[in-house]
Every structure is written in C-alpha cells, then in structure tokens.
C-alpha cells in the first residue's frame, strides 16, 4: 500500500474528502500539518482543495511559504508523485512547481457544477489507470480557476503533451458553456515534464463514490496505487535478478 500524505493548510477544506478517497482506493493515507517539516515517508503527496489562508491576496500565494512546502518540493524533485487539486493546483503554480497561474473566473463568479473533461495524458502518476481520451464528469467548485500562461508556455504544454485534463468543448446537446472559467485552451489540468507533478481544477475526490452518482474521479486515486505496485514489483524482480 502506498503511503499518501494529505497536506493540511489552515483553510484546507477538502482534506478529509481527499483522505477518504485515497483510503477507499487502497492507499494508507494520513494528514501532514502545514507546519510540519517532514512528510513521514510519503510515497505520494496530495495538496487538497480549500481556501488556504482564506485565499487572501491570491489563492495559494501564502500557503506556498508554509514550512512543509520545502519537504514537498524535495519529494517532487526526487520524482515523487505530487497532486494538487483545486487550491492545491493553485499552490503548485504559485510555488512554480507547475507553470502558469490560476486567475479569477472569466464570469467573475464562483462556479460550482459538474463539468465534462477528457483525460489527454495518461502517462502520469495520477492518470495511468485511465484510457487515453477518457471522458469524465467531475465537479468543479472555484472562484479562481482560469488557467493562464504565456503563449510560449501554452505552446510548450501542448507540444509536450502536458495537458492532463481538458474541458470538453460546447456542443449542441450541452448548451451550458462547459469551460467554466475561461481557461486558456480549455485547460483543466496540467503536469510537469516528468509527469510526477499534476495539478487539476476539478475535484476527483468528489467523484469517487458510487453513492454520490459520480465515479469518474477514482482513477486519480487508483493510479498511484497501480504505479506503486508496479514499482515495488519491479523492485522485487530486480532484487531477484540481482
């Protein structure tokens, strides 16, 4: 079982949801407090959603300086899987672990509703259990989710296949603007070049339970378990060979 550290910042409010989703899909999940400096042997780190420091100034701007973030950066630099959901994604951008920024929604209001996204990159620590192109329905709930980046960065993200989730374009049949926030290129989630750092605006942890009617998010929690098994299997077999 992978050890999943869910980092709690003051103002995190999807911490329990994320912890439970990780547990439900086979991880050993625990909380790490923002003032801690040690991830306690985490295989996987998740920065959950919420309003760290009230989202005052800019969302994620203050949380990025929390003491735990140094350990998080080290974990990521060593290739450890790191997922930021919603506010977690905002923190990753503010901390420059992912490029770009998340600005106030184009419609200027908070948006809470289910949206349809496609999984465009399955070669990451959190999406490897999905079929490429899989279409998911996930809730969004944010006031600042408009992804922006310089034209160069956008080109690079597209060229390197680093758009992980994309809002499905409007169709005749779904009349409501599916891109809920005016994100550039309809981007809903991206990753770093190695694919170990992923940030997404929609909430997979809220769509990972049959009872709630949506299950499309479960892959974000099964994928790290699968890759953990693979890598421990790999470790076992290389030991055997050696």
């Amino acid at each position: 079982m992978p050890r999943v550290a869910v980092v709690r910042f003051p103002g995190s409010n999807c911490d329990f949801d994320t912890l439970r989703a990780a547990e439900r899909y086979g991880s050993q999940a625990y909380f790490v407090w923002h003032r801690d400096t040690d991830l306690r042997g985490a295989d996987v780190v998740i920065l959950p959603g919420g309003f760290s420091y009230g989202d005052y100034l800019r969302s994620g701007a203050i949380a990025r300086f929390s003491p735990i973030m140094q350990a998080v950066q080290r974990h990521a630099a060593e290739g450890g899987p790191l997922l930021g959901i919603c506010n977690g994604f905002q923190i990753l951008c503010e901390a420059h672990l992912l490029p770009g920024a998340l600005l106030r929604n184009a419609g200027l209001t908070f948006v809470s509703k289910p949206v349809d996204v496609t999984v465009e990159q399955t070669d990451t620590a959190f999406t490897c259990d999905y079929e490429p192109g899989a279409r998911l329905r996930l809730p969004v709930a944010h006031g600042e989710g408009r992804y922006v980046a310089s034209p160069d960065t956008l080109r690079m993200l597209e060229a390197e296949g680093r758009v992980v989730l994309r809002y499905v374009a409007a169709t005749e049949r779904s009349p409501f603007q599916p891109n809920p926030n005016g994100s550039a290129n309809h981007i809903a989630g991206i990753c770093n070049p190695a694919g170990n750092i992923v940030g997404v605006m929609p909430h997979p942890e809220r769509a990972a339970d049959r009872l709630l009617g949506l299950t499309g998010g479960s892959g974000f929690f099964t994928s790290p378990v699968s890759s953990h098994q693979d890598s421990s299997n790999a470790r076992v077999s290389s030991n055997e060979v050696g």
């Binding site: 009230g54 005052y56 100034l57």
Partner: protein, 83 residues
C-alpha cells in the same frame, strides 16, 4: 483630452480587513518584520475623456460614488494624470 485616472479603493478605517491581516502575517513569517498596518484594497485605472483635468476628476468621482466604491465599506482616493 484623455486623462488616465488612478483610483484606490480601500476598506474603511475601523472596518476589519482580513486580507490585510493575512498579508501582514505572511510578510512577518517571511522575515519582513518591518512591515505593518497592511491594508488591501482595489486599484482601478481608467481613461476619462474630458475637457479639463478638473472635469475628469469630477466625473471620476461620480463614477466612484455610483459604482467603483462601496460607500458602506470603502473609501477611495483619486489621482488624475494627463495622458
């Protein structure tokens, strides 16, 4: 003539400014002990076409009263520049 108007809309003195507080704490945590009394408001810039600087200012003031600032919770300051 076109004037560039800079408006600063700040939370009324005496009113709680949670955002300012949060920023003040964050600055202290980053080692900026010398910072204090932080207030966070909105900065608005706009062009105003008017016959004179005074007229531009008067119009801008009206815009603030009607729309740009909330008289219940905010005070504003104007600054008019010739373009």
């Amino acid at each position: 003539m076109t004037f560039r108007v800079h408006v600063r809309v700040m939370p009324r003195t005496g009113l709680l400014d949670p955002q300012g507080q949060a920023v003040e704490h964050a600055l202290a945590a980053l080692g900026f002990e010398e910072a204090g009394a932080v207030r966070v408001g909105r900065a608005i810039e706009l062009d105003v076409d008017a016959g004179s600087k005074d007229e531009a200012e008067a119009r801008a003031r009206l815009m603030c009263d009607k729309l740009l600032a909330n008289p219940v919770t905010e005070d504003y300051l104007l600054d008019v520049e010739e373009d």
